[in-house]
Structure formats: structure tokens, C-alpha cells
Symmetry: C2
Subunit: 253 residues, 2 copies
């Protein structure tokens, strides 16, 4: 239930805790849980009050929204990421559900303790501000992506981003099911399949979860990636927060 030393270190390296005092860190992690959840577990349901800040240490988590019996994926998180931080900060109800996509290790930090810590440790609340600002900008990107681009363009840019994030090799593997990708990109699985078929004409070869971008230049001519929408950050060594991701490439840590 409580944290192992190795996990404590991973959390301490989070951007959110960079520079905070040991007292603050102890206060926040004192009542922390570390839990392992199987795939498909709903951690938190839309509309629920939020008592904990969640930190994904290992695995894959989906954030989703619902209305009128329809669902949509708002984000897919990989380690190390915090989630529902905004709701925790405001002590408000969650606007989205969180669900594990794979078996996941998740750290749960008391919201109450976090709010107290933010009011006493300026380093911590500054880091919290940066973290939230990074999350905010991620959402601005998502909204622009959704409103300005068509389905095939969203997919093309997703593939280019994945390629870069996975190291830049010509061939890479989709990090999860296509059904989930469709929901993330705001389309039906059927249309995602057809969008992949369309991209075949632009040098994209699909083999199950394996994707090869044979002619990057051709694909980019379709995708028109834009640093104000897409965040083509290569995999850097250090565990980072949403803020650092936003600051790349100008001020990479």
C-alpha cells in the first residue's frame, strides 16, 4: 500500500516537486497510496468529487468524457503523468472519467494535503502553476486540432508525433488499440480504418499495430504539422512534467 523507496524517488523527480522542501514533500506523500490496477479499471467517474491527485507511474490511462450516451477520449496518458490536478486544486468534481488501459501503477496523493502544501510552500505552488499551465496548453492544442483539422489530417499528425516521440525510426508501434485512437482523434473506428486506407496513398503502411511512414515528406505535405498545435518532442531522458513538455525546444530541461 505505501511507497517503496524506488517509487518515492520517481515521484520526487516529478517536475511538480522540483525544488520543494523536504517538509512539503513529506507532508504530501505521508498519506499516499501506491496501487496497482488491472486494465479496464475505472479510477474515477465524471461528476465524482475528487479526493486524490493521481500520478501514473507505470501503465496507460485514458481520460474520457460522456454526454448523451456518447463517449469520447480526451487524452491518453503515459508515465510519468499527473491527472485531474485541476479538480484537486479547486476541490471540485471531476469533469472527466479516468480509466486504466493497461495494468497500471498509480500513486494517489491526498488532495487536502496538496492544497495545504500549495498555500504554504511557494516553490510547490509555483511548480503547480507551471504544471497546470502545461496541461492548459495541451488542451488548447487539442481543441485547435479538433476544430481546425479533418480526420485524415488529425491521423497524419498523430502518426508523425508518435514517430518522433518513439525515437524517429521509420517504423513504430501504436501504443494502444485503434478503437481508442479513433475516440481520441474524434472519429469512429470505421472512419479511422478508412483514414488509414487514405494515408496509404501518402506512403503509410499499416500492419496491425505496426506503422511505417515510408515517405515522410509526402505525409508531411498532407499533415502540415504546426508547432502551435503539435508538440513534436523527442523522448528525453529525464522524467518530466507537462510544463517542460511545453517549454521544449526553447528551454528544454
Amino acid at each position: 500500500m505505501s511507497m517503496r523507496v524506488v517509487d518515492v524517488e520517481r515521484v520526487k523527480d516529478l517536475a511538480l516537486f522540483s525544488g520543494v522542501s523536504d517538509e512539503t514533500f513529506s507532508a504530501v506523500t505521508a498519506g499516499a497510496f501506491l496501487q496497482k490496477f488491472p486494465a479496464g479499471t475505472t479510477l474515477l467517474h465524471e461528476g465524482d468529487p475528487v479526493d486524490f491527485l493521481y500520478v501514473l507511474l507505470d501503465g496507460l490511462v485514458e481520460l474520457e468524457g460522456t454526454w448523451n450516451d456518447k463517449e469520447t477520449t480526451l487524452a491518453v496518458l503515459r508515465p510519468v503523468s499527473t491527472f485531474i490536478f485541476a479538480a484537486v486544486a479547486l476541490d471540485a468534481d471531476a469533469l472527466m472519467s479516468a480509466r486504466t488501459v493497461e495494468r497500471s501503477d498509480i500513486l494517489m496523493l491526498s488532495g487536502e494535503a496538496l492544497r495545504r502544501a500549495m498555500q504554504t510552500d511557494p516553490r510547490f505552488s509555483y511548480a503547480a502553476t507551471l504544471e497546470l499551465a502545461g496541461c492548459y496548453r495541451g488542451l488548447v492544442r487539442a481543441l485547435k486540432n479538433q476544430k481546425l483539422r479533418g480526420g485524415a489530417e488529425r491521423l497524419a499528425n498523430y502518426l508523425i508525433t508518435q514517430k518522433v516521440r518513439q525515437g524517429g525510426a521509420e517504423t513504430f508501434t501504436l501504443p494502444h488499440e485503434k478503437r481508442l485512437l479513433a475516440s481520441l482523434l474524434g472519429m469512429t473506428p470505421e472512419n479511422l480504418s478508412r483514414a488509414f486506407a487514405t494515408l496509404t496513398g501518402y506512403g503509410v503502411v499499416v500492419n496491425g499495430p505496426e506503422v511505417t511512414i515510408a515517405r515522410p515528406v509526402v505525409l508531411e505535405r498532407l499533415a502540415k504539422p504546426d508547432p502551435l498545435i503539435d508538440n513534436h518532442q523527442p523522448p528525453s531522458a529525464a522524467p518530466i512534467g507537462k510544463a517542460e513538455r511545453e517549454l521544449w525546444p526553447a528551454r528544454a530541461s
Copy 2:
């Protein structure tokens, strides 16, 4: 150029400055500009570095995003609102452009001074965190609205929200041109017009900028408003920040 006493008071009442020390407040407002801009002025362009936090004291401001020669409106702000706070906090480039829709009074606060203040005054950085959390949740709502609802449904919910925010009377006035509303709702002006025509069948009467919701129950059956997407906050007296707006109704200030 500098601030009048009455303006200083308005700024001090911002949620962002609630509880901050006089020293912090002075430091932040010391190098502040107060400017009046005519309608249609671009205050800041996508991709530009951001040197100031903007505070809309009077008027109307649009935030917009661009890609591939297409534009979309991401938000329309009314007083009193801060904007591009996330970019200021991170000292990053703007992800959206800001443009005045009407003649506007806008306060510009030094980003450098704000970042310094956040690192020294915990009250201030805590308030900043809450403000950003409120903005973040507003965007989550916008993304869900966009991905889960169709055009007519988005319009219906917009109208219901406007009605409530303007006091709840059967008839109210659209706050700006329909062309801008179309862009905000993610559709073309032509389709907005047709969406209004559709809503005629649900008791909505349009007369130029005047809208009457004759049969609210019928319209709501179409709109299915949801507190996890729509923020039906009535006009409260005090000037507020994005955080308070998010906390309503549970913890209204």
C-alpha cells in the same frame, strides 16, 4: 498610460490577487499599462513571445487559433478576465491570437514581474494555480462540447447558457455578431443560420440579435444541458475569476 485609482481597485478585486500582500500587488502593478484599443485590434498573434499578462477590464476580446488558412474562435472573453496566463507563467509563445471585438480597456502586466511574484508570494501563486485550474476546466468543457455534440445541440446549449448568464429573462441579446458565434461553435455562418432555423421548431424566435426562448422545456429536451459541460452560472455581483466560476454552485463566493 498608467492606472487610475478606480482601475487599481478593479484589478485588486480580481480573484487572482485575492489575499496577496500589498508588496506583491505593488510589484506586479508597478510597470503596468492601461490601454484602450479600438474594435478589431490584434493584441497578440499566435506564435509571438508573450511579455505581458492581459486583463480585460472593459469591452470584448476573442481568442482565436489558425491552421492552414483556417481560423477558429477558441473563446470570447468578457470583463473582468485575464488571458494568456498560461503562456505568461511558462514564458512561452502564445498558442492563440487575441483580438478585440469591441473597443476595450486592457491592462497589461509585466510577465517577468508576475513570474517573480509567483515565486515569492505563496498567496499569489496559490491564486494563480486556482485561476489556471479554472481556465483548464473551461477548456475541458469546450472540448467535450465540441467532440460530443452536434451543431444544433451546441447552439441550443449556448442559448440556454446565455439566457441564464444574462439574468434568465425569456428574451435576451446575443453579445456579438453571429459570424463570431459560428466560429466559436465550430461551424460556418451559413450553418449557424440553418441551426437557428432548426431551433425555430423548438420554440426559439430570432429577431436580429434578439433571441427569445419561448418554450424552455422543449429546448432543453433537445439541448440536454449537463453541468459537466455547461456552466450555467447566473450573473453574480462580485467580480470573479475563472476559479470561482468553476466552483459554482458548490462554493460560490
